[in-house]
């Protein structure tokens, strides 16, 4: 297959494409839920899909790592059997923005690290990803450019870019090739289409700029100086410790593991559920000692897990700039504001050193 394999999907054929994909298996896409909220849900027709949408309430991680998933099934008693299981189904996801594709890339790294998480990896292998480019900002909360997630950087099988009359479609993988082949609604792209894409990207580069005034290469170093920053204390006073920010984050993957027996007490499951480092009992041990008692420490931990720790471990930020944490925060804690505060404080400290 050619490395750069571009096709065209005319807008009037989009309906046929969606129908053909949804007939083959489960198709999931962003759907409007009212009040400018969107969610990834199963669709069967193009009319249900929102082609222009702000990041959905929950990110794509809900398909890769469901809120609740069974790890073990067991029966109790002398002849008890324990089986490790994974619940999965083939899914095609349409309309993933570049920030959400970056989020999945982050999760892929985490769950492929040894010891590998077979539940995640088994499910991942059954999911096809079709990206959709943002030609402009979704809203004022995004900071995707800062974290290098505003332009497509892989992590998809097919990638759609809306160019008005048609979509230009980049087919990246064999799985993607099979999808477009089965749909049969695509035409070959010629150089004029490619030029239009280039023109759009040039225009896009003018729109997208670092959303906070810092060179992203300086961010890890800035965080190294910020462990005792004033801003954490401020967040301590505002944060409600509700865990919304981590639930909606595309790269938060902390979980709890629990057991559940059925009413007969003979069968049960061990399952994992999303958890949050923002909740008070998260780092508490049974003896009562809580190793991250203060909200300031918990909020700080969240920011460091996005901007500092993964840089050493995975050579990238775990913030994808989607803005969900800011949109969802009941206390109006804004990621961009926090970063701005850190920049200011960090600069003050550097100046003081010199003076």
């Amino acid at each position: 297959m050619e490395d750069l394999h571009y096709l065209i999907l005319k807008k009037e054929r989009f309906h046929d494409f969606v129908r053909s994909v949804s007939e083959v298996g489960k198709l999931v896409a962003p759907v409007p839920k009212g009040f400018n909220n969107f969610a990834f849900e199963a669709v069967t027709s193009a009319g249900e899909i929102a082609l222009r949408y702000i990041p959905t309430i929950l990110p794509l991680k809900k398909f890769f790592m469901p809120q609740r998933e069974t790890l073990l099934e067991f029966s109790t008693g002398r002849k008890g059997v324990v089986n490790a299981v994974v619940e999965c189904e083939p899914v095609t996801i349409f309309g993933a923005h570049t920030c959400d594709l970056a989020g999945i890339q982050c999760l892929n790294m985490v769950f492929s690290e040894r010891p590998r998480d077979q539940n995640y990896l088994t499910r991942k292998n059954q999911i096809a990803l079709i990206g959709l480019e943002c030609n402009e900002y979704c809203d004022q909360y995004a900071n995707c450019h800062l974290v290098n997630a505003s332009f497509p950087g892989g992590g998809y099988d097919i990638f759609f870019t809306d160019l008005g009359e048609f979509f230009i479609v980049h087919v990246k993988t064999q799985a993607g090739d099979m999808i477009v082949g089965a749909a049969g609604t695509f035409e070959k792209a010629d150089s004029s289409h490619i030029n239009e894409l280039k023109k759009m990207r040039t225009q896009k580069r003018k729109i997208f700029n670092n959303e906070v005034p810092v060179d992203s290469r300086q961010i890890p170093e800035m965080f190294d100086r910020s462990f005792r920053a004033r801003v954490w204390k401020e967040l301590d006073e505002r944060c409600l410790a509700c865990g919304n920010c981590t639930n909606v984050c595309p790269t938060c993957y902390c979980f709890d593991i629990r057991d559940e027996l059925d009413l007969s007490l003979k069968h049960g499951i061990r399952y994992r559920v999303w958890d949050s480092c923002q909740l008070e009992p998260f780092a508490r041990v049974a003896g009562g000692m809580n190793f991250r008692k203060e909200r300031a420490a918990r909020q700080r931990h969240r920011y460091y897990r996005k901007f500092r720790y993964p840089v050493d471990r995975f050579a990238r930020f775990f913030c994808t700039g989607c803005g969900r944490c800011t949109r969802t925060c009941m206390a109006d804690i804004s990621l961009k504001e926090t970063l701005n505060e850190l920049i200011k404080e960090s600069e003050d400290r550097v100046w003081k050193k010199w003076l």
Partner: protein
Amino acid sequence: MEKVVIKDSAYRLRKAKILHTKKLTANEKFFEIALADGELLDHEPGQFVMISLLGIGEVPISVSSSPTKRESFDICVRAVGKVTRSLHKLKAGSEIGIRGPYGQGFPIQILEGNDLLIVAGGLGIAPLRSLIKYVIDNRRDFGKIHILLGCKEPKELLFSDELDEWNSRADLYYACTVDRADPDWAGNVGLITTLIPGVDLDPQRTFAAVVGPPVMYNFVIKELLAKGIPERQILLSFERNMKCGNGKCGRCQIQNLYVCQNGPVFNYERIKNLSEAF
């Protein structure tokens, strides 16, 4: 939604049987456990296992026996939560599930040929007993051995019969103290830090292994540094909440480190600047 059985899940359990239990104190109980089919646990001193009671949950517990004991392994469990309280109710013959061993234990290969100062506070003796027993079984490979033990009251002393044996051995130095004495106590009274200055050691060739409650670390480390033991030769083991043991669930993180994978044993030099550690 299809359900597939997977063979290589990190959450699958190894079957094990409780061979023998013994009440050590009002809250702590000793268990000897054997893996089914005569499997070997193959752990290192300082590593931990996830103990699983189906339908109740899992807990991380340090292994208390030396790897030189091959046919079974020991754990010492304080009843503090749902799982540990349920575990206390189990008798010999009961079946449990095991995952692990997990984590980085004490670096035995590096410790060999050096002197050891072992500092155990309270339940800290549980993981350290694994190291002590290993060292005693391989006594020739180590230099001087000092064992310092401390706990709140005499009635909380764990493994008291073994302590007498260690105390009577001529090839190691042993001292024990309690914070508060009772009328029958004839030994040292005071915090464990009061025992450190009296130890005659060569700091350059001494490795300290310290395990105890969080409050103990700062004070003990100060004394050890005052003795001249280099930072990288001070080994500490941390307790944290854990759900997975695979460096994923996030509960045991100390800043950028996962206690379950990078620890639970760390050298002081590596973690001295991590404020979440202390």
